[in-house]
Symmetry: C2
Subunit: 133 residues, 2 copies
DNA sequence: TATATTGTACTATCAATACTAGTACAAATA
DNA sequence: TATTTGTACTAGTATTGATAGTACAATATA
């Protein structure tokens, strides 16, 4: 995958990398087992200090997005969807509020907001809903 | 309104205040013309340095959420929804991606995600959709 | 006019974070 | 054994967030 880094962004470089990797996994651009560039490779490619890349990979390891093997590399982990449905929704709450706050202040309606989600949803590997007979 | 500050959060205090004020306006807890606590009042109430409160108010002023009058106080501004529908959606994009990334990695389906938005939408003053006769 | 209130501006200081730089080590591979 | 990979460590710089204290400017009020 290609990382797109903006050094002058308010978002720290290591956070940009982590966020983009998360999005790539959620979109299927990165799949379980895929190898990420090595720390030194990516540091050269992005012209960034290797320690910054290492910090990004360490963060990804921490959140369970990848697993790393010394001497082998860093690989995308299986997605592990946690806990109960209620608990999942709770994790989602922060993002729902951010979205609805933004939508409201932008003057959107509920339908426009839902449409915005529906339009982009196709780019993400959301779980397939079990169809009832 | 009541601000709920967590000093040990990774989110800066001034950002917590700004975010909560934005949410309150989007939910109608704060309405145009309402006066916010004075800098010194809120500093005492939250046991926070007045300069930190002032920074939050300055940020709110910058994003057009409030207008301030020296000697009078800080007041909630009218909501100004900007530009074209397309431009509005573009502003929303970041939040949509964050939501869908989180939802996907949590193992939710599109319907569950949309339901999560619908469930909370009632708490926000989203624009009323024009009903077609 | 005088006084109090309110937001603003300023300097200084402290702590934490983000990043860079360089070196060295440990585990896996070839 | 040599190479590759991630990891650990120290050190330093710049920026940010927050605190502390003082002073000023505009508004409202007595």
């Amino acid at each position: 995958m290609r990382f797109n880094i903006n050094p002058s962004s308010a978002e720290p470089i290591y956070a940009q990398i982590t966020r983009q990797a998360r999005e790539a996994v959620a979109r299927g651009t990165l799949r379980a087992g895929d190898q990420l560039p090595t720390v030194r490779e990516l540091a050269l490619e992005l012209v960034i200090n290797p320690n910054t890349i290492a910090a990004a990979y360490r963060e990804m390891e921490r959140i369970g997005l990848v697993h790393t093997r010394r001497g082998r590399g860093t690989f995308v982990a299986e997605i592990q969807s946690p806990a109960s449905p209620g608990e999942r929704r709770h994790h989602l709450q922060k993002h729902v509020d951010a979205l609805l706050t933004e939508a409201t202040l932008l003057g959107l309606s509920e339908e426009e907001t839902l449409d915005a989600v529906r339009t982009v949803a196709g780019k993400y590997l959301l779980r397939e809903t079990k169809k009832n007979g």
